[in-house]
């Protein structure tokens, strides 16, 4: 950069901000076009991008952050629960229930070790004071404490419960009833939180309720189904909600409801500030179509350019085809910065 003189003055800061994703769309385009024409700045960009990736790897593990308290042996979990119970003002009323719970938990746990079926692969674990498992809601057995769950099991949580597997965690609110499969969660009723932490998430991971289908990508979200209404709110990542004649695309912080008739709408935000509507990409009826088409947005968003200076955030191999994920900041109508994911296929 020193040898390029005045032309590049102030470029270093802008390159760093570019790597950070802190520039507006026009500024990004400007930096990108400059990088194309200037070798020194291109090297500088490579250097900062490399620094950014390495620094990120210092702080962020490629293994998942464990759920708090879940990785402990059952015995210490129980002693913790006892501790909580003694602190609780309702202790006196619950003492008898607690004794029954401990007994049941121990019996269940020991029985569980003794009868562990080797033929059924363990899909994940479910931790809850009381829950029901069965192949269908009508025929369910009660369990207490921690249970290993086979793929395709239907679980009803009596109290707050957590399902953990290698790819995703699901938190059940009391009363939630859902079937868990590796590519799909079917929520029959109640409220669940999903954290799909395994990256990259498959493009067609689906959450279904009796009246809605939701597709996610690397996402944390909450889904509930009460009184024939599905409500979705997204904490992280991006989600597509199927609706009549199209789909509704939600980003972090967005929420939507799907009514009985399949009509979907964005829910009002918690913040008082009015937000621009999230664009709805009209599509043919979405029968078997997973959300893989990350076309360039058609809305008022700025022009997105993907070229060799843009760094992919994830690479997925599908046969002899390579799918690159790009994270691009879009200057939206107000100061809210949206991140959208784009996919590009490469032979």
């Amino acid at each position: 950069m020193d040898d390029t003189g005045k032309k590049c003055s102030g470029m270093e800061d802008r390159i760093i901000l570019y790597v950070d994703g802190e520039l507006s769309a026009p500024e990004r385009l400007e930096v990108e076009s400059h990088l194309k024409s200037c070798d020194a700045c291109r090297k500088l960009h490579e250097s900062y991008a490399k620094l950014d990736r390495a620094a990120s790897a210092v702080f962020v593990s490629d293994r998942r952050v464990p759920p708090v308290g879940l990785e402990k042996p059952v015995a210490s979990r129980i002693s913790e629960l006892i501790g909580n119970f003694f602190l609780s003002p309702r202790f006196a009323f619950q003492a008898a229930a607690l004794a029954a719970f401990i007994l049941a938990a121990i019996v269940f746990y020991r029985g569980h070790i003794a009868t562990e079926p080797s033929s059924v692969a363990v899909f994940g674990r479910f931790t809850c004071r009381e829950f029901h498992i069965g192949s269908e809601p009508a025929a369910m057995a009660s369990y207490y404490g921690v249970g290993e769950i086979a793929e395709g099991a239907t679980i009803r949580a009596v109290e707050n419960g957590t399902f953990s597997s290698e790819k995703f965690n699901v938190t059940f609110k009391p009363g939630a009833l859902a079937k868990l499969e590796s590519g799909k969660i079917s929520l029959a009723g109640g409220s669940i939180d999903i954290d799909y932490f395994k990256k990259p998430a498959p493009a067609n991971f689906e959450i279904s309720t009796p009246n809605a289908r939701i597709f996610i990508r690397g996402t944390k979200l909450k889904v509930s189904y009460f009184d024939s209404v599905t409500a979705v709110s997204v904490a992280e990542g991006r989600v597509a909600v199927m609706k009549k004649g199209g789909e509704l695309v939600l980003g972090a912080g967005d929420g939507a409801t799907v009514k009985k008739d399949g009509e979907a709408e964005i829910s009002p935000k918690k913040e008082t500030r009015a937000e621009p509507p999230v664009s709805v990409i009209p599509k043919a009826p979405a029968a078997d179509r997973p959300v893989t088409a990350y076309e360039e947005p058609t809305a008022e968003a700025a022009v997105i350019k993907i070229d060799e200076t843009t760094q992919p955030v994830a690479i997925e191999k599908k046969g002899n085809e390579k799918v690159l994920d790009y994270e691009v900041d879009i200057d939206s109508m107000d100061d809210r910065v949206k991140k959208l994911f784009f996919r590009k296929k490469q032979r």
């Binding site: 270093e12 800061d13 760093i16 901000l17 950070d20 994703g21 802190e22 250097s47 900062y48 490399k50 620094l51 390495a54 620094a55 990120s56 790897a57 210092v58 702080f59 962020v60 593990s61 293994r63 952050v65 464990p66 708090v68 308290g69 990785e71 402990k72 602190l87 609780s88 003002p89 910065v337």
Partner: protein, 165 residues
């Protein structure tokens, strides 16, 4: 009130989980993942114990950072008392065999040279994927201030890395 507390607690764990894990991982970078997990649980236990006295008297991330640091220090103290010789082994361990890992260690060395305030900016940026604006809100600084600090420290890091970059 009990339930209200635990809902609030869950919210904090949800929001700052990755941050706490990042702090532990950074401070004990050469330790295996299992140690990180163990101390991660310990940090939250300490946090829960003191939770009713917490009452947002300091910023959550600041409070969690100090708990995590104390937890890591008591872990190191305890281990140093138990077996001093293993530290030599740790140092000799050829873990940096992979090139990526060697690069990370070099970058970590550059981060080590920064001040604690600067390290915490990086922690928020990378573990919680926060923008300058969000970091500003978290630490009660202006967005511009955060931006300038992040720019300055990256230039500093790149300078101290010299030939690698």
């Amino acid at each position: 009130m009990h339930d209200e507390n635990s809902a609030q607690l869950n919210e904090i764990i949800e929001k700052y989980g990755k941050y706490v894990f990042g702090v532990v991982r950074y401070l004990l970078y050469r330790e295996p993942h299992e140690t990180h997990e163990e101390l991660y649980q310990e940090v939250w236990m300490r946090f829960c114990r003191g939770f009713k006295d917490f009452e947002a008297r300091s910023k959550v991330s600041t409070y969690l950072y100090s708990i995590a640091k104390n937890t890591v220090f008591s872990f190191l103290e305890k281990r140093n008392r138990e077996k001093t010789e293993s530290i030599e082994e740790l140092r000799l361990e050829p873990k940096a065999a992979e090139r990526d890992e060697a690069l990370r260690l070099t970058v970590k060395a550059a981060i080590d040279k920064l001040g604690e305030d600067e390290q915490r900016l990086l922690l928020l940026k990378y573990t919680l994927d926060m923008s300058c604006r969000q970091i500003g809100e978290e630490l009660a600084l202006s967005e511009d201030n955060v931006k300038q600090r992040l720019l300055r420290l990256r230039r500093k890091m790149r300078e101290s890395l010299g030939d690698c970059f």
